[in-house]
Structure formats: C-alpha cells, structure tokens
C-alpha cells in the first residue's frame, strides 16, 4: 500500500517513482490524492481529487475510520505510542471551543500549552514562551528530537480511561465522517472509503503501508499538522520503523536535506542545535539545559557533548572549559529573522547586503514583487549562480520596470554577479532525501572565474581575517579565533572538501583520529565535531559517503552505498520492526530483532537502539537520558520513548491536527467557527495585503482556488532548467490549466490567453483546457481550481510570468514556511493590462474587495456564529 498525497511523484521525482511501480507490480495498491489528475494519478490504482488545503479533513477522516472500527494495530499502539498516556483534566478540545484548543491567548494569538500536558508531576514545563517559539521556528529543532516531556507518565493500557490519548483522539475526530470529508474536500464518500479500507487492510503484522508527501503538504499555513496527521495514521497502523512503512518526504533539491542538517538557516546550528536566543540562552549552561531538559529521557540527554563539540570545531584551541568553549561568541536571536522578515526589512531599508547562493527568490519565493522591491533597496547584492538569473537582473528586466516601480537610474543596489562552479566542477557530498550522503568526485575544472562556494567562503573568510588581523575589538575575536585552516590545492587554491568533511565528522583533538560514532564524543574539549549526527561519515579516516559498492553485490538495504545519518542507519526507529519482546512482527516483515544468544540487536540494518539493551530492560525510577529509555521504547529521541499520537508540547498550533481553511479560501470552514489557523505567522506590512475570506464579506471577488507545482522538465525557479536547451525546448511556455467547465464560465479558449488576479499581482498565461482539473462540489456550491507551473520568469531561453507573484505571505507557525500551495484569485480571458493600467486594475480589485489599505483576514473567528449546525457545538 502506497499513499501519495501532496506530491506528484511521477513527474517531480520520476526516478524514485520506479520503486512505486516496482511495488505495484508486486501487488501493492497505489493511491494518489491531489487537486489535479497527473501522471502519478494515471499510474495509481485509485485517484482522489481534493480541494487544495483540505488534506487534514481527509486524513482526520481516516483516523476516525481506524478508531471507530478498532482497526489500529493494537499491540504496536499500546506499546510504542502514547495512546495509553493520560492527559491532564485541564485539557479542552477544539470540539469544546469552536476550533480552538485550551490555552489560547488572544493577545498574541498563541497557546499556553500547560493544559495539554500529560497527567503527572513536572510534565513539559515550557522552556520558552510560545510566541518566541513561533518567532524562532522552534519546531524545526524537533526534526530529530522530541519536545520536552518527563518520562514519568500515567498510563491506562486498556485504552479506556476517558482522558487517555486514544479516547481524546477519538473524540477529536468524531465529526470527521465520510459525509464531512465529502463536504470539506469534495471527495465522494465511496472513494474515501476505498482509501480508508485499503490503508487499514494493508497494515498490520504481515503488511505495511507507506505514505509519501512533498511540498504539497509543507507549503501551507497548517503544513506541520498535515504531516502530523499522516504520522498519526502511520503510528495507529504500525507503519513506522518498519520496512515498507514510514512517512516519506520527497524533497526537491540535491542537498536540501544536508542544508537542513548542516543548516544555512537562521534558527539552527548543525545537528539541530538551536541558535542561541538572547533572553533564553545567555550562557552555555542555559543553552544546553534548554536542549537536554534535565531529567528527560533519550539521547538528547547528551546535548552538552554535542554543543561543546560544535564550539570546539568552530573555535579550536581558543575554545576551552574556562571560557565556556567560546559560547559567548555566538550571535543571538531576538525573534523572527527568517527570509520573509528579511525581505520586508529590505523594503524598509534595514538591510544593507544580501548574498544569493544558488537561489532565485525573484521567481521562487512567495510574493515576487516584494522580493524584487526588497532587492532594489539594498546597498549591495552578491549573486552566485551558473546563469544570469532574475534575481541578478531585476533592476534591468523585472516586471516593475514597466510599471515604473523600479527605475534603473534610481535603483541604488550595487550588484556583483560571481559565476559558480557546477556539480561536476567540485567535489563534495550531497545528502539526499532519505538522509543518505553521497560523495561526488570532481570531473573537470570550473571555467573562467567560476568557483565553488567552498572557494568563495574560504577566501572571503581569509581576506576578512587578514583585514582584521591587528584588531583589538572584542567583536572581532570570534572571527580571529575561528578555526579556519583548511589545506588548499590547485591553481585557484581550492580548499579541501574532505578536510571539511573530516571536521564535520569530528576528531580526537590530541591525536587527530577521526571519531567513528557520536557516542565517542566527550564534553570536556578533548574531541571536536562540527555536526554530531554526521559523526561516522569519516570513520577510520575513510570517506564513507564515497562508497559505491554496486547494488547487485550487496543486500537490498545496500549499507555499503554511501552513508546515511545517523550511524549509517537506513530506517529510523527500526526497533519498532520487532515486537516488544524483540521478535520480528512477522517473517515477512522481518528487519531488526533481538538475538538472545548473542544478547544483542541484529538484523538487515544498523539497529536504531543501544546494541546490548535487552527488550526486558526497565529503567530505574527517576532515571534520565539514554538510561531512561526502556527496552521496548523504540522512539529513543522522544522524552517518553513513544511515538506521539498526541503532542503534549512542542507543536505550536495544537496537540492534534485540526482542519482549518487556508488563509485565502472561498469557503467557510464547515467544521468549526474558527476559519483558519489562529496561530499562523502574520506579517502586517503595506506590501503584504491578503484576499478577503469568509466569514469576511467580499471573498466572491476572488472566487477561484489556485495551486502551483512542478513540471518534470523544469526545476524550481528555473535557474537550472530554463537556461538548458533541451529542457527549454520540452517545456517552452508558461500556461494555466483550467477545467472545461471553468473555461465556459470565464470564456477561456484552449491555447488562448488568460490572466489571474490577486490583491498582489496579475499574471498572464496560455490556457490549457483539460479535464485533469475537476470542479468540486463543496457544500452547496461548485468550487473551481486552476493549476500553474511555478518555474517561469523573465530571463532564460524560455520566459513566462511567475506564478509565485500571485501569493501573499502567510506562514506556518512551527517552521515559518509560507502558504504557497493554495490561494484565491480571479481568472479573466485575454492578456493582462500593462504599465499604469496594471496598477489601476489591482487598485480596482482591492476597492471591490472592500479594502484599499493592507488587508489581513482576522486570526480568530470563533465569535462569528454564522455557521450551520455542524459548526455549532
């Protein structure tokens, strides 16, 4: 069983999709859920059309189906999840509060999570207030570790206690019936039941089901909760930590996983350590305690070791126990410093310089006009890319030239374009979407002035350090003490990528011996390591990521091809592939098990458990850290060792996923008075106006739903595809897909022109009339959806207007990712107006939608009792 939702795998990840086809050939059922019928749908056994932005309603319906029919994998659920854990009596559900959970604070639209906690003393004392967590995207820190929770919980393994998680879950989803799924999502009841029935039938001891998603799930104002709903289903069905199971995120750039693990992100340090916050983490001890949560179980108990090793890798000899390993050098966050906040700050003149390193925000980020106007208001901009992309030429060729919003002679931004080396012109590792590192050998020298990022940053650092060499200012110590000695080679003094990988891996300071596991790390400065979860990639001084043992010469798990973090483990939490006693759940799904003779865990993969800890191990009362994890607790990074059906802390918009409408929606939430995610990140800035949505008036001005995604032949913002001849030839033009019904309604001709209008922009595209898009019946009306590719811009061999220009900026509260998979728009036949007439058109739409000033739909709508009986509680 494979469920693909929020992903067009056949077209966006075609080579990975061969394994879906392989599974189908062997009898697996493939389901595809998507607003648009794609090649993935064509190859699936069953296709479910869905209204964009309603996935939680569908998945919540599956949760209800499982619980109502008691189809969960009971032994797995009782032992490995928190289903039996009892929640405090202070907790109130969205069913009681019109779509809000208990603890909502109107003044800053965030939750006090105290009432969500488990029953018991000292549970999840919030280490930081939730508004700060939202501002700093703290949810991302939990990518590999659990939020704080004490392991001493109360459980009812009969699952009958009215306040146990199982019963709370059941009540929370009680109204997500097949009828409700149909009303919210537009999915016929029989199609929904076909999915729910197949998913449950194909899960259990002998069978597993897999869930696949991509940015069709993440790019929503409730994106994290989409994925949590998928995880809840997979935990209830026993599909986590087992072969053929899991929740697979198909990511879209060659090393987007690596750039999250070793982050170029404002709120993270390597290995998911948080960037220090000025108020919460003034000292090393406070920073460490905020990660390890003293008294908590699991591997994060060793957070001090991971932190000290990073500081030691950064500042080398200068980092000593006496100076807290130079912790004081770290810059501190005070709030949201994310990319969208930065762009608004650029518009407001607060930012002087901007580096673009293989990213093209003028096309690829939401609200392209804001991106371009921000870049037009810098002192300087450095663009490093293979090609002359839109983000380098906005001052010359951008659409704002025509409207007069950017005038080259008045635009002060100084632009440096530095050509970059391609993937074959440098060596280094990519981490692909399943955490697997693969090393690339260098094939040729880069042409002309083209250089690697490694070269650029190493030499920029070298020059800056030389300039400051005689400085005595305290602020320059962090640069001067930096461990910045990498061997260089070749005519351009290219730094050694392997020497950087060695530092990332970690080493014994005295001997230089590479560490083979993060368990060898010490917190006394005797070891250094730049990213603890990557330790082992340079084990024995061998670049493990460069291993290329042919697939045919090794096991199916292929442990000798590349190297996966952590510890070359291919399936995370694989302790769950064995039953609580350590035996495989079934012969068919055997993967990792306990060998009583050898008294150790063994199997086809590297066991994700302490090798010698028997299934019968029970931690002493009040134990913490790794010792606190019982022999049958597979989720070793969680504070209670359990998979979380219910999140007692750490997820900012609620302990369980709830259907909220997208921020821009033509539909009133059929489930709750609360319309959209009340805790979403809102940017009130004059440029960021949003379309009105129910229960506000005037949403009919933007009656259609639009969504965007990829074509096989193009890549993201087009910087690596619109400039490439064969790809440009294969997909030469921007277009919009509309249903035949909408074409009639709006007078659109196939292959003619149409333009789409939002309060931000109007863009034009050629019309493709196709029944790949189906009008959906939602409540008592028809909702039309249109689809666009988002790859086009004004540079390159083929050009077209940018779909991302249509979006406003609204973010998920947990990770600050923007809602750019769904918005509302108008669609009109013909070419769009140009120049001043375009600006007048947008003003006209804003006037008709009731607000000429910047407009933001209200965050809380629970006092609007306009609802039908379903919304009434």
């Amino acid at each position: 069983m494979i469920v693909i939702q929020g992903s067009n795998m056949a077209e966006a990840h075609p080579v990975g999709f061969q394994w879906v086809m392989e599974a189908k050939r062997r009898g697996a059922k493939v389901f595809h859920v998507d607003p648009r019928f794609t090649r993935t749908s064509a190859l699936a056994d069953s296709y479910l059309p869905i209204r964009a932005g309603t996935d939680i309603a569908l998945l919540g319906g599956v949760v209800r189906y499982i619980l109502d029919n008691e189809l969960d994998f009971r032994e797995y659920v009782v032992s490995y999840t928190n289903a039996a854990t009892i929640v405090t009596e202070d907790y109130r559900d969205t069913e009681d509060l019109h779509g809000l959970f208990s603890g909502f604070k109107e003044e800053n639209a965030s939750y006090d999570q105290t009432s969500w906690r488990y029953e018991g003393q000292g549970q999840n004392v919030p280490p930081r207030d939730t508004e700060t967590q939202r501002e700093t995207a703290a949810g991302l820190e939990h990518e590999s570790h659990g939020a704080p929770v004490n392991g001493q919980t109360q459980r009812d393994e009969t699952l009958q206690h009215p306040r146990c998680v199982y019963q709370i879950l059941k009540r929370h989803y009680a109204r997500y019936t097949p009828e409700m799924v149909e009303r919210v999502c537009g999915i016929p009841q029989e199609k929904f039941l076909e999915l729910a029935e197949a998913w449950t039938r194909n899960s259990g001891r002998d069978r597993t089901g897999m869930l696949v998603y991509s940015v069709g799930w993440t790019q929503h104002s409730v994106g994290v909760q989409y994925i949590r709903t998928g995880a809840i289903i997979q935990l209830l069905l026993g599909n986590v930590g087992r072969p053929g199971g899991g929740v697979m995120a198909l990511r879209g750039h060659a090393s987007i996983q690596g750039s999250t693990d070793i982050p170029t992100l404002f709120n993270l340090l390597p290995g998911y350590l948080p960037m220090p916050h000025h108020a919460d983490h003034p000292t090393l001890d406070e920073w460490v305690d905020s990660i390890r949560h003293p008294g908590q179980k699991g591997f994060w108990g060793n957070a001090r070791t991971y932190g000290v090793n990073l500081l030691k890798a950064y500042w080398g000899d200068a980092a000593t126990a006496d100076n807290d390993y130079c912790y004081g050098y770290m810059p501190r966050m005070t709030g949201d410093h994310g990319t969208y906040q930065q762009v608004l700050d650029m518009i407001d003149g607060k930012i002087k310089g901007y580096f673009l390193l293989g990213q093209n925000p003028a096309v690829g980020s939401a609200h392209g006009r804001a991106q371009r106007l921000g870049m037009a208001n810098l002192d300087w901009l450095v663009v490093r890319d293979l090609f002359m992309i839109e983000s380098a030429t906005f001052w010359q060729n951008g659409p704002e030239i025509e409207t007069g919003e950017i005038v080259p002679e008045e635009c002060r931004t100084e632009v440096f374009f530095l050509p970059a080396a391609s993937h074959v012109e440098k060596e280094g590792s990519f981490t692909q979407t399943q955490r697997l590192l693969q090393w690339r050998e260098k094939a040729v020298e880069p042409p002309g002035d083209a250089r690697s990022e490694l070269w650029f940053f190493y030499h920029l650092g070298r020059i800056i350090r030389e300039r400051l060499a005689t400085s005595t200012r305290p602020r320059d110590r962090a640069l001067l003490d930096l461990n910045w000695n990498y061997p260089t080679h070749g005519p351009h003094a290219e730094p050694s990528a392997e020497s950087v990988l060695y530092e990332i891996n970690g080493y014994e300071v005295a001997s230089g011996r590479p560490l083979s596991s993060f368990t060898e790390m010490k917190d006394d400065g005797s070891t250094a390591g730049g990213c603890w979860i990557y330790t082992g990639v340079y084990e024995d001084g061998v670049n493990q990521a460069a291993r290329r043992k042919p697939a045919g010469e090794q096991s199916l798990v292929a442990l000798e091809w590349g190297w996966a973090w952590p510890a070359n483990r291919r399936i995370l939490y694989n302790r769950a592939s064995a039953d609580p006693d350590g035996n495989p759940w079934s012969e068919r799904k055997k993967y990792v098990w306990w060998d009583p003779q050898k008294a150790e865990w063994t199997g086809y993969d590297v066991p994700d458990f302490e090798k010698g800890k028997p299934p019968s191990y029970r931690p002493p009362v009040d134990s913490s850290g790794v010792a606190g994890i019982a022999g049958d607790d597979p989720f070793i990074l969680q504070g209670d060792g359990k998979g979380w059906l219910y999140a007692p802390t750490g997820v900012l918009d609620g302990p369980m996923p709830t259907h909220y409408e997208p921020v821009e929606s033509p539909v009133r939430n059929p489930l709750y008075r609360q319309q959209a995610n009340p805790t979403r990140k809102v940017y009130t800035h004059p440029i960021n106006t949003l379309n009105p949505s129910p229960p506000e008036p005037h949403s009919e001005v933007f009656p259609y739903v639009f969504t965007v995604s990829r074509l096989t032949e193009h890549h993201t913002a087009g910087g690596m595809s619109r400039m490439v001849r064969p790809l440009a030839e294969l997909q030469p033009e921007m277009f919009v897909e509309v249903s035949p019904e909408l074409a009639v309604e709006r007078g659109l001709d196939h292959l003619g022109w149409a333009y789409l209008v939002t309060t931000r922009a109007a863009i034009e595209a050629r019309v493709l009339v196709t029944d790949r898009l189906t009008p959906l019946r939602i409540e008592d009306r028809i909702i039309h959806q249109v689809w666009l590719p988002y790859h086009f811009g004004f540079e390159g061999l083929v050009t077209g207007e940018s779909a991302n220009d249509l979006f406003g900026i609204s973010l998920d509260p947990n990770v600050l990712i923007q809602e750019s998979k769904v918005g509302t728009c108008d669609v009109r036949a013909g070419r769009r107006p140009r120049g001043q007439e375009l600006l007048e058109l947008l003003v006209d739409y804003r006037r008709r939608s009731g607000d000429l000033g910047p407009h933001y739909p209200p965050q809380v709508t629970t006092d609007v009792a306009d609802s039908g009986r379903d919304r009434e509680v």
């Binding site: 750039s259 000025h278 930012i351 074959v424």
Partner: protein, 189 residues
C-alpha cells in the same frame, strides 16, 4: 554479396534467429552503427557523481575527454536509481556545458543601466570591504538589558540546498563568527 549473407543482413532475420529477440541491440545494428564508438569508451576519465536537481540522489557517471565533459549518464551500480535519469538528469551535460553559462564576474554600479566587467580578485576585495562596513554600521553588542547579542542584522544570505554539505558548513561557520544571523535557504520555502 550472396543471398545468404544478404538475408542475414536484415535486422528482422537477425532478431528472429540471433541473440537479440527484442531487436534493441545487435540485431538492429547497421554497418554504420557497428563502426561507431561511444564517447564513454574513448573518455580519458570518469567521475562518480550525483544528479544536481531533485533530492532523489540518482548516481551519475561523468565522462571527460581533453578536460571537457563529453557525456553524463546514469550509474547502473546505484541501488537508488539503477542507472536511470529523468529528463533533467539526462540533460545535465547540457547544463554544465551550456554556452549560456556566465563564466566571468559581472558588476552593476549603483544607478547604472548596464553591466561591466570586473576582475575576480577585485570583486572579492570589494565584497570583503562591504561586508565589514555593513557589519560595523549595524553591529549590536548587547540588548536593552545588557545581555549579549554579538550580531549584525545588516547582512542576509539565501541559498544552500543546491550546494554541498561542506559548503553549507563553511557558510554557516563564517557567518556565525561574523555575527550574521540572517542565513536562510530553500528548506524554509
């Protein structure tokens, strides 16, 4: 040519009688195609690489002759991709050898309407000047309560998901030591 040899020259005959029943190899070859040599056979070297587009991580073999990339194809050894590439991966030779690539530094002065050339060393030094100046002008030592900030909010950076792990590591390390916090990449979108 005798009749027998003439008949044996028919692809259909060879397909039906020979070792290539699907007619996709030896049976389909003509005298012309028999004399061709693949670029992969005459290459000076081959680098083991990985496709630069999405995150599936398909393995590539990059063939080089006389210092130029002559062919990029899927690596059949890979347990992930089994030698296959999608249209983008298959076009990666066109990507890296594209005549439209910029190979020299370009510079646009403030208020200018055109690009100019600039020497790479000069550009590096100009960028270093600007980084240091922006940092000094926007430096924050402490917050209102006297707690350390050690930072500049005058510098931003975006991108990393198309780059190597080692590059991301150096970018984050240098910016952190510089006090530049506003470092972001495609993972945020």
């Amino acid at each position: 040519m005798g009749v027998r040899r003439w008949v044996e020259s028919w692809p259909l005959y060879r397909q039906l009688t020979g070792t290539d029943p699907l007619g996709r190899g030896a049976a389909a070859k003509s005298a012309g195609s028999l004399s061709l040599t693949a670029r992969t056979e005459t290459a000076d070297s081959m680098a083991r690489s990985v496709c630069p587009y999405c995150a599936v991580g398909c393995a590539q073999r990059v063939f080089v002759k006389d210092g130029q990339v002559t062919q990029i194809e899927g690596d059949p050894d890979s347990p992930i991709s089994r030698g296959r590439l999608c249209p983008k991966g298959a076009a990666s030779k066109s990507l890296v050898t594209s005549p439209f690539r910029q190979t020299t530094v370009r510079y646009r002065r403030p208020y200018s309407t055109q690009w100019e050339d600039l020497d790479l060393d000069t550009a590096m030094n100009m960028i270093a000047d600007r980084v240091l100046a922006a940092r000094d002008e926007t430096w924050e030592d402490v917050d209102d309560a006297g707690r350390p900030l050690n930072r500049t909010l005058g510098i931003s950076s975006l991108g990393g998901a198309t780059l190597d792990n080692e590059e991301n590591y150096l970018i984050k390390k240098l910016f952190t030591a510089m006090g530049a916090l506003q470092i972001e990449n495609q993972a945020r979108i």
